[in-house]
Symmetry: C2
Subunit: 451 residues, 2 copies
């Protein structure tokens, strides 16, 4: 076993052991740790910002050299107005959410004196791998403690100084609480990621926070379940009976509100009957916002006919790859379909299962679309940009999952829990219930679930 | 791409496409398919039993040669009294369960005219790999159709004739219903398993039904989530204040009711204060039932002292490996602990996360044990043998999961579903809700969930 491997095992094992103790703490005890964390980060603001300034200085030079993107530089900077306070406030917001642990979701009397309960509990050990944003440390530490999970955090090298400073404050704050210190571990060693991703017997869930490349790397290199999404290829289908104003409003918002977001629109499917009516109006509105359209031949012909010459510059012929691309930019692929079924088939074949929308006045067409489309979010006459934990009212968001099991769509604290079955008996044995005349019968009587 | 690989892709892709259509069918339509399946299997009983007789004949010869175990031979035989009728009745039982699809679990008014719903839906495509039992085909086909999932089934070579006969009947029955025929596909090609396990973009969940070796092979050879458990290493801890009669009853039942089951007891942890009192009584009861005890030195010394000479034959010294072994036989490892914490640490380090129990009169000790033990089932004064979907009252059981996400413990139909988020709007865009004076505010008002 290499040093890196044995370090990874040590980290994961101590987190696993800590997670069991953390799982027994009351909501009050976990909340007290969050209050301590908030207080410590507030008190050590100057130290942390000084460390962060060093990271920003290094990154500014790297950005000037062209070896680092300006968006990473921007994400790195904790001194931007409001950012530090938002981080602090985020801890209190998480603290004040309902306790996700210990909720009884099933209670049954199996027989006299023999009760079954299903109760929510922490998953165990989370591994969070993130890129530049240093405030993620506080955010994830808060989510993990609130949900009773241990967390191992590994940040990017650009935020190393901030990371070390925050790590020290977090450890000190936790040490003053009932939460075991190894519950939150900040891994500074480089090259430890692969070794951590191999600890599938000790780590229960990986949450990558960063670029598509990071998520894809993590998914491809671990047997641990991964919560997240590599791609957000969202599509909209405009049905034959769509109202023009609704189509314009929803599509322009989906595409232009924040083009770099995973819930932005990337493909527009339009019913052929709308090529000369609704499509030109929608296209005009998009072009006015600076969107480039990559069109199939039918939509291209229609738009070349309908649009004035000076608007045709941002039209180009779509290639097959355009319908597989998450542009994350003011670019939209357009395709003509002759039936709703074709739109559904296209989306199920090309979408990333994130969020897809239909614009129609027909409840029947909407219901068919909503049950046929196999995505985390399926919206009717509403922008794909609503796919977001805060907008859904979850209070916080761990990430957006395109998995088909456990958690799907925006994941809140609930997604960091699982359940266990508890049975309380008075010395009951199963042999007494075997079939036959003398066998006792199970009652299987539902009992009220009092909070 | 090899022929096997391309066959696997074809099977998985057609199942995936069928799953989308299946997901739109009503409960009535799915139930009609189940009725048709029941009827067809009833009508073709003679043909299927004739095919099964060929499998049994082959297997009988193999068992005589010693190349096949007698337990597989026994599991293969559909003509044993009641077995075929149980299989038929099982289909009707699944049909008559509550619809697991389309249940709304969250409904919110995000703003006027903008509602969010979380609704249960099928996972998509299941891959079920099973060994000898031919009745699993009918059982799994029923579960898949009821839950709106497509299923690809791959059986063991011992049941090939039965498999082909049942497959033909299943396909014919489904063809007479609204369920698309590729929803249930029975793969006969040998050596296709590895290729199917590689289809992680088309297959959503694998359910292995068979030996620990099968489950472990599947878990080690796929990126698709696996529902199941390789091991069932269940432990019991007898606390210092345990009542003797409860300890005897629960431990004897846990160990001897059906030793080959995954929910049988394999390790007994006993508080040191009980070595000369409760332990000898429990040990005597186990020895009377033919159980061999593998003891640590403290428990061995105590039992050698307390038990009459003729009872000491079935005692032997435990090795470290005994505490890691799922005996599946009348063998039990015994270990002395000096504190409840030591029992908890031992179980969390050695248990397979299936089911563990505590025998105590103290609610406090029980609660601490139940929140500290990280297993799918944690029982107080009740036999581990209750860990079972039928006993829990779930109506049916897909398997018992020791996963830490999605489904844990006995998994019923609910474990074959996930959810999607549906938003219904009237042309709402997210930009209208941006911060600032003019920004609209989200209502996030919970709405009643009417069934």
């Amino acid at each position: 076993m290499s040093l890196t491997e044995s370090a990874a095992v040590d980290v994961a094992r101590s987190a696993s052991i800590a997670s069991r103790q953390l799982a027994t703490l009351s909501n009050d005890a976990r909340n007290q740790a969050l209050s301590a964390l908030h207080q410590a980060l507030d008190k050590n603001r100057a130290t942390i910002l000084a460390a962060n300034a060093k990271d920003v200085e290094m990154a500014t030079r790297a950005a000037a050299d062209g070896t680092l993107s300006h968006s990473i530089l921007k994400r790195l900077d904790l001194s931007r107005p409001g950012k530090y306070d938002d981080m602090l406030q985020g801890i209190l917001s998480v603290r004040d959410l309902n306790d996700p642990v210990g909720n009884v979701t099933l209670r049954k009397l199996l027989d006299e004196g023999l009760t079954l309960e299903r109760v929510s509990c922490p998953i165990g050990v989370l591994l969070i791998i993130f890129e530049a944003r240093p405030e993620v440390i506080a955010n994830i530490a808060a989510l993990a403690i609130k949900s009773g999970n241990a967390a191992i955090l590994k940040g990017g090298k650009e935020s190393m100084e901030s990371f070390v400073a925050i790590a020290n404050v977090v450890s000190e704050a936790i040490a003053s609480s009932q939460v075991p210190v190894p519950s939150i571990q900040l891994v500074r060693t480089r090259d430890v990621v692969s070794s951590l991703l191999a600890q599938d017997s000790l780590i229960d869930l990986v949450i990558p926070r960063g670029s598509n490349e990071l998520v894809r790397f993590v998914k491809d290199n671990t047997k641990i379940p991964v919560l997240g999404h590599a791609d957000g290829l969202c599509s909209a289908y405009v049905h034959s009976d769509a109202k023009i104003d609704i189509a314009v409003k929803v599509i322009v918002d989906s595409k232009t509100d924040y083009p770099a977001a995973c819930n932005s629109l990337e493909t527009l499917l339009v019913h052929e009957s709308l090529l000369d009516s609704t499509l030109p109006v929608v296209a005009q509105a998009l072009l006015d916002k600076g969107v480039s359209l990559r069109c199939d031949s039918a939509s291209m012909d229609a738009l070349m006919k309908a649009l004035p010459a000076d608007k045709r510059n941002n039209l180009s012929a779509a290639t097959g790859a355009d319908y597989e691309t998450e542009f994350l930019d003011l670019v939209l692929a357009v395709k003509t379909v002759s039936r709703a079924e074709d739109a559904i088939a296209h989306i199920n074949a090309h979408s990333s299962g994130h969020t897809d929308i239909i614009i129609t006045e027909s409840r029947e067409a909407a219901n068919c679309f909503m049950s046929s489309i196999d995505s985390a979010g399926v919206f009717w006459n509403a922008s794909s940009r609503f796919a977001d934990g805060m907008r859904y009212g979850f209070g916080t968001e761990v990430g957006i999952s395109t998995n088909k099991i456990h958690s799907r769509g925006p994941v809140g604290l609930e997604g960091l829990t699982i359940y266990k079955y508890l049975i309380r008996g008075e010395g009951h044995g199963a042999a007494d219930y075997h079939e036959g005349e003398a066998g006792r019968k199970y009652l299987h009587k539902s009992l009220p679930i009092d909070k």
